[in-house]
């Protein structure tokens, strides 16, 4: 592909390997890219477009390829191990029978790595570890976002139910809340569930 310059003598490959991140999620890719740069890996490229993926990778000619496991295009990369492929340098998956803990951790985190044959093992290890921690950080961030969204939704439901109680039972805001909370405790339910039943009931009785 013409978007990527393929001319690269890269005399300093060992000091600063070229890393390609293949991820359709631009935020996660940015988080990983930033982490890699902070760790001193300056030659990082992001591929977010899966069309003609192999051609894009060959044009980049990376030393290390990182790909997220949610990406169906991972199977395309398996083709790089074939003898009859049209590629300049042999590429292997990061597999080391002696280090299954590291593979397990990366699969758990949702990322996989492919390296050019002959690349030093200690160096890939530091990249993988960084990848795992950034992927996990991203997952935590997403969880948090999800929780915040849910909490906001719940608060809206509780506020609506409170309003209904205040109107129909002439309670103060505090009294309405206390009533819902004690009902929830008695029935071993969450306040939001009680609030939802109040809203449903009031809609039925309209």
């Amino acid at each position: 592909m013409s978007g990527f310059a393929g001319v690269s003598l890269r005399m300093a490959a060992e000091s600063s390997p070229k890393i390609a991140i293949i991820d359709e999620n631009p935020i996660r890719a940015a988080i990983l890219e930033e982490g890699l740069r902070e760790a001193g890996f300056s030659d990082v490229a992001h591929v977010g477009e899966m069309n003609n993926l192999l051609a894009r990778i060959y044009a980049l000619d990376p030393d290390v390829i990182l790909i997220d496991l949610e990406n169906p295009s991972r199977d395309i990369l398996e083709q790089m191990f074939q003898v009859s492929r049209a590629v300049r340098r042999p590429i292997a998956m990061f597999v080391d029978q002696s280090d299954s803990a590291s593979i397990q951790a990366s699969v758990d985190a949702g990322v996989s790595a492919y390296i050019v044959d002959g690349f030093r093992k200690e160096r890939i290890k530091s990249i993988i570890d960084l990848c795992i921690s950034r992927f996990n950080a991203f997952a935590r961030l997403q969880d948090e976002l999800e929780r915040t969204k849910n909490a906001l939704e719940e608060r809206k439901v509780i506020d609506r139910a409170k309003g209904i109680l205040m109107k129909h039972k002439s309670l103060s805001e505090d009294e309405a809340y206390v009533l819902m909370r004690s009902t929830a405790m008695r029935e071993k339910k969450k306040i939001v569930e009680i609030a939802q039943s109040i809203i449903t009931a009031s809609e039925l009785l309209k």
Partner: protein, 395 residues
Amino acid sequence: MTGRAQGTLMPLRIGFIPLVDAAALLVAVDKGFTREEGLDVTLIREVSWSNVRDKLNLGLFDAAHLLAPVAIASSLGLGHVKVPIVAPFNLGLNGNAITVSPALHAAIMGAVEGDPLDPLATAKALKRVVEARRRSGAEPLVFGMTFPFSTHNYQLRFWMAAGGVDPDEDVRLVVLPPPYMVDSLANRHVDAFCVGAPWNSVAVDLGIGHILHFVSDILARAAEKVLAVRQPWADKHGEALAGLIRAHHRAATFIEAPEHRAEAAAILAKAEYIGVEAGVIQRTLDGRLKVSPGGEVRSSERYLLVGRDGAARPDPVQAAWLYAQMVRWGQAPLSDQSLQVAMAVFRPDLYDAATGTSPPMQNSVADGVGAFAGGPFDPADIAAHLGSFPIRRQD
């Protein structure tokens, strides 16, 4: 039926790819057959064969719906970590098709001499098309398939090579995830592909592809997907594995009964399983496919076999055939030891013990494979067999 006490279900995590040939697994779980065997199965839908393989190998899955050649490649340590895999149940025979773009279809039909359903005739026609393109300076044709270690890869290669087309020199074979096949054909990134259901039918329905061949035209019986477990897991959990095999056997029998087809198709169509229209799935199960955008329909008894005609019983001869293809195309060296390992992945003994069926199951294909070219297949003499093919990567 179950040796386990009430309330002590064994939890199992099983990975699958949303394809029709996961039918026996999906129906076994959905209809509660696995539960009746004391197994509490959680199904995990995956997006790539690499993921399925890695998660099975690492023990994140107890079992998986897996490409038969991947089970063999894992056991031989080809392309990845060496993990011995056992396949005690064949989830499907055949089921793939070769779909070509309207332009390539017209070109092949224009060059074909004889019956266009005869794969030798179409392969020779492909050869003429390839030569004409070369003379006119056109780019080589691109064929999509699903994985380097896949029946799709071997079926495409076997077919075109019989007509004199070298799959590595004369055309380009590229891996594409099945859900991307149709788009790639529409966008002309590929000229043809070999893939399982429902993707061929989807391309035909959209008017952008013609089904040129069912793969059963190329090979009468090809082991397509297997139920795969790690060897140490099979050794340790013999009883659970037997229960799993029985539940699959029951599901396969259920699916093959014509009066259950509609129900089976409706189960498979669910969003959490395959998530396409039930009608498209039933066409596949019935082996009655629309093959051209014009509406032409073709039926085959052999399109996809889920259990009938002894299909579910793993046949080591088919494992040997797949290994022979790995050798032919330079993925594996030829050795007796590797052949033994490959054949031992397929475990009819575990199948027989669990289901109580008695070997040998009769099937209608003399050498167990039924390839359209190259003479009968003999696992005892792979070297001579491969030697008879002029186009090969083997040294």
